[in-house]
């Protein structure tokens, strides 16, 4: 580590090594640019270290245990014993393997890695403060800069993540032992995914949500099977309540929440997980030095090439406008790197898929029926329920459906919504179809393997065309 304030020059400085920043750095390296990637914590960012990957590892592990213990109707009798500390170790192993891979890939592509927290020190300079005492700082002079600092969990007043019983999603995924009970504040996708993990590990889960439904951002018929399944798992829901504060009470704590009228409900619990959303990280960047200002959302406005209002500064991922999704960040990173290298790249994708890894899973891509109508299309919808899918029945999970939205005149696919087994995987085919400008006929006429869940996509398209085989047509 360098001591004292020294200066290096680079073609491209990337601030933040998450799925936006490291992808941008690698692509820029491939294109022959001299790249410096600054990361203050862990390569791979929130996604690999504390978010997508660890949560999916824990979801899968708890599913294995839960499924094994609940397969009596298949003739399987078991009572699996779960060692949570070992489970977390296994999860950490997966994370280490991936983050190590990211580091290797960066180096193999000639990316110069630098640890520290970067802030602007002028319109061509970054000051990088190294972690730890006495480690000093150094200055990077850049031609171009990509800001990829990501986001952090939003804190709710009265619930300090520094306090022991209060957990953010990152802490919740790293517990050595399980609490007997937990209150989850927020029924968004993070809250619902983690509630399901805890419920399947036999923790007593209570969800407190300010709005009036689970996954309030999704269409009702998508969220409904998730809520139903959660209730079967014993999760207790309380809607229209805003978490207010917590206090110690005997061995545990009490979480107080207020309804609209100011009436207070109290919940006895061991821990409280706050998962009410994430906010972009721009306050550490000293944006004034480069004449940038976040918008009302706290994001940096960008154009179709991911460029901010400052010519040589780009912003990607959670600090840029749009959904906070790792794959959207990666795409923006690639485009920004290519633009900086002089290639004619642009953010001209038609649709960004999104997935929620609840039980059952939800996945969406492109337009809903309403959104399609708002955009001026004449939408037609086709739907196929998983309880008509042979493969879904053989997995023991036949809740949910595949729904496709297309333009009636042209047949172009515009969007899809899936709730059910492997929805997160199934949505990829529809994403490709939409991006290619495929029509209902194109997908309906493509032979799909039997017996698979993917056949449901073909059937949904046939349904939209009015000639589905395995379900009744409109």
């Amino acid at each position: 580590m360098v001591v004292g304030d020294v200066s290096t020059g680079t073609d491209l400085a990337v601030v933040g090594g998450g799925p936006g920043g490291y992808v941008a750095a690698i692509r820029a390296g491939q294109l022959g640019l001299d790249v410096t990637l600054v990361e203050m914590d862990a390569y791979g960012g929130t996604c690999l270290n504390y978010g997508c990957i660890p949560s999916k590892a824990m979801i899968t592990a708890t599913d294995v245990a839960h499924e094994a213990g609940h397969a009596e109707d298949m003739g399987v009798y078991a009572d699996p014993e779960v060692d949570v500390a070992e489970m977390v170790d296994w999860k950490d192993g997966v994370v280490d393997q991936l983050t190590g891979g990211v580091e290797k890939l960066c180096k193999a592509n000639g990316v110069n890695l630098m640890e520290g927290r970067a802030e602007f020190a002028g319109n061509d300079k970054l000051r990088v403060v190294h972690g730890g005492e006495g480690q000093g700082s150094e200055t990077i002079t850049y031609e171009h800069c990509i800001v990829a600092t990501g986001s952090r969990p939003i804190e709710v007043p009265g619930f300090d993540f520094g306090d022991d019983p209060v957990l953010d999603s990152r802490q919740a995924l790293a517990m050595d032992e399980l609490p007997e009970s937990i209150v989850v504040v927020g029924a968004g996708y993070i809250g619902m995914e983690l509630s399901t993990v805890f419920a399947k590990l036999d923790v007593d889960v209570t969800v407190v949500e300010m709005l009036d439904s689970v996954l309030p951002a999704y269409e009702n018929d998508l969220a409904r099977p998730v809520k139903q399944r959660a209730e079967e798992l014993g999760i207790d829901f309380h809607f229209g309540l805003a978490a207010d504060h917590w206090e110690e009470s005997g061995d545990g704590i009490v979480v107080a929440a207020e309804d609209e009228d100011g009436d207070v409900r109290e919940f006895d619990t061991d821990k409280v997980l706050v998962a009410v959303g994430r906010e972009p990280v721009t306050d550490t960047l000293n944006l004034d030095a480069v004449d940038l200002e976040p918008n009302d959302d706290g994001r940096l406005e960008t154009d179709t090439q991911a460029r901010t209002s400052v010519e040589n500064v780009f912003a990607i991922g959670d600090v840029a406008p749009g959904p906070m999704l790792a794959h959207k960040a990666s795409k923006e990173g690639q485009v920004a790197a290519e633009v900086i290298a002089g290639e004619p790249a642009a953010l001209d994708y038609q649709a960004v898929p999104a997935a929620v890894f609840t039980d059952p899973e939800i996945a969406t891509v492109g337009l809903s029926e309403d959104a399609a109508a708002d955009e001026g299309f004449d939408p037609v919808v086709g739907k196929f329920p998983f309880n008509a899918s042979g493969r879904a029945l053989t997995t023991g999970h036949a809740d949910g459906f595949v729904r496709v939205v297309a333009d009636d005149d042209s047949g172009f696919l515009l969007g899809a919504q899936i709730v059910g087994p492997e929805a997160s995987e199934l949505v990829a085919e529809l994403g490709l179809a939409i991006e290619m400008g495929a029509t209902l006929e194109d997908v309906a006429s493509t032979i799909h393997t039997h017996p698979t869940l993917a056949e449901s996509t073909m059937e949904a398209c046939e349904h939209a065309l009015g000639h589905a085989i395995h379900t009744l047509n409109r």
Binding site: I154, Q305, E435
Partner: protein
């Protein structure tokens, strides 16, 4: 927040428009639907309305510029728009960033709702190719299934655009700090001996900012000598553009005096007016027609005493219904009768496809001279309309053409054209076919002329006819037969009752 407003397709399938004049200034407050600019397309001048309430931040073009459809036209500042919804729900809803609606917002790009969707369907590989070739994808007509834009469409568009001002990628941003183009003329005084030769490549890699700089300096980026190669393609830097602009353009600026012979002006001099807009469109179409279709013009004269009497009688009846009845509707009906009998005259040659299309529609264009130039409104389905209805349509369309309120659709879809130059005077002419149609009928002035009948010469009302045909498709005999058939119906208008 800022809202970029791209030049919409102001006609049907228009690729570009000439900015005639701005109706607002930067900093002006505008309301939705308030006209912000006058834009002239191939055949019509339209006012472009503001899409939102807001303030004009940037007018991106100068008057006289030809603006490609889909390029950013005006940037508006809009008071707290859609963003609001998200900020309002700071906590819970923000958690749902990973949501359908947000993903859709990103995908839809916040396109103006309540209008026809303007999405262009094309696979990512084709979209990339379009960017590489500087083709504005939104202006390309797709020939794939359901109108999907294919690789071939983009390559064809790139070829047809070569030579024309390239449609720059819409993404070009931030105004560069460079001073606006130094006028080449002024600089030409200081001719640089080291003026560089134009490189004249087909394709050039360059950063968007470099392309922007080249545009500002009036330099064709393909002419800038490359300093390096990337992936086998010439790569040009901003410095190279600057250097070329200072040296190269200056050298070019000097060229006229050195190379081209000085034009000698006769005493009294001359005035010039720009060859553009509708004048240029007419010119280009005339040239295309004449250079493409070998024209032959067949002349004959119809004796129309009976038609004159018939029209005289019906004129008052028509007037009762507020319709001004001229001879034109009779001629149109007679011509359509001829087209039905001789379908080859109602046709189009599609050389690329090796086929001649015989049209099932009988849509007759009527050439109208206006203050702005020649326009050809089209009366659709003349075969299905009464003479009175045809008269009504002609009058309405001609009025619209004259006051320029005619829409592009009303000038499209013609299958045959009639030009009534006789309204001004004259007998015979050689009309130019309204390409890609294959025939046009010109009408001379109706007047008393000597006619020899049964060994006698008498004064009769006659209508001189001039039928130009595309001789690739229509034979001379067919032209004569068609004309005879039409004349028979003009001479004996009762026959039109059978139509």
């Amino acid at each position: 927040m800022a809202r970029e407003f791209k030049l919409p397709d102001v006609g049907e399938g228009v690729a570009e428009g000439e900015l005639v004049r701005w109706l607002v200034d930067e900093g002006d407050a505008v309301s939705e639907d308030q006209p912000v600019a006058e834009v002239e397309t191939d055949k019509a001048q339209v006012e472009v309305p503001a899409p939102v309430d807001g303030t004009v931040r940037t007018l991106h073009w100068d008057e006289g510029d030809v603006v490609p459809v889909g390029d950013v036209f005006v940037t508006f500042d809009v008071e707290g728009e859609p963003v609001e919804e998200e900020t309002a729900a700071e906590t819970e809803a923000a958690a749902e960033a990973e949501t359908a609606s947000d993903a859709e917002a990103a995908a839809g790009g916040g396109a103006a709702a309540e209008t026809e969707s303007t999405r262009t369907f094309a696979p990512p590989s084709v979209r990339r190719l379009a960017r590489e070739l500087d083709v504005n994808l939104d202006a390309v007509e797709g020939t794939g299934p359901s109108g999907r834009v294919t690789e071939g469409d983009v390559r064809a568009a790139a070829e047809s655009e070569a030579g024309e001002p390239a449609a720059e990628p819409a993404a070009a941003t931030a105004e560069t700090t460079t001073e606006p183009a130094a006028e080449p003329a002024a600089e030409s005084a200081a001719v640089q001996p080291g003026g560089q030769e134009p490189a004249g490549r087909d394709q050039t890699l360059a950063a968007p900012a470099t392309r922007g700089l080249a545009r500002e300096l009036g330099v064709d980026i393909d002419d800038v000598p490359a300093v390096e190669e990337r992936e086998g393609e010439a790569f040009v830097t901003a410095e190279a553009v600057q250097e070329y602009a200072e040296g190269g353009v200056a050298a070019q600026g000097e060229a006229p005096t050195a190379g081209a012979p000085e034009r000698e002006f006769v005493e009294g001099g001359e005035t010039t007016e720009p060859y553009r807009g509708i004048r240029r469109t007419i010119g280009e179409q005339m040239a295309e027609s004449k250079y493409t279709a070998p024209h032959v013009t067949h002349h004959d004269t119809a004796v129309i005493d009976d038609l004159v009497a018939t029209r005289e009688k019906l004129k008052e009846r028509a007037a009762e219904q507020d319709v001004k009845l001229t001879y034109l509707p009779f001629v149109m009906k007679a011509a359509v009768a001829g087209l039905k009998e001789y379908p080859i005259v109602n046709s189009e040659l599609r050389e690329a496809d090796d086929e001649i299309a015989l049209k099932q529609d009988y849509n007759v264009g009527v050439a109208v001279a206006t203050d702005h130039g020649l326009m050809v409104p089209v009366v659709k389905h003349v075969d299905q309309k009464s003479i009175l209805q045809v008269a009504r349509d002609v009058n309405e369309l001609a009025a619209k053409a004259r006051d320029r309120s005619i829409s592009r659709e009303e000038m499209q879809g013609g299958t045959f054209t009639i030009t009534n130059f006789g309204a001004v005077g004259g007998e015979y002419a050689t009309p130019v076919i309204n390409y890609p149609e294959t025939a046009i009928l010109g009408l001379g002035a109706i007047d008393e002329r000597p006619v020899a009948e049964d060994g006698e010469v008498r004064a009769a009302k006659t209508l001189p006819l001039s039928l130009s045909i595309d001789h690739r498709v229509i034979d001379g005999a067919e032209a004569a037969e068609f004309t005879n058939y039409v004349m028979e119906r003009l001479t004996d208008p009762e026959l039109l009752l059978l139509e």
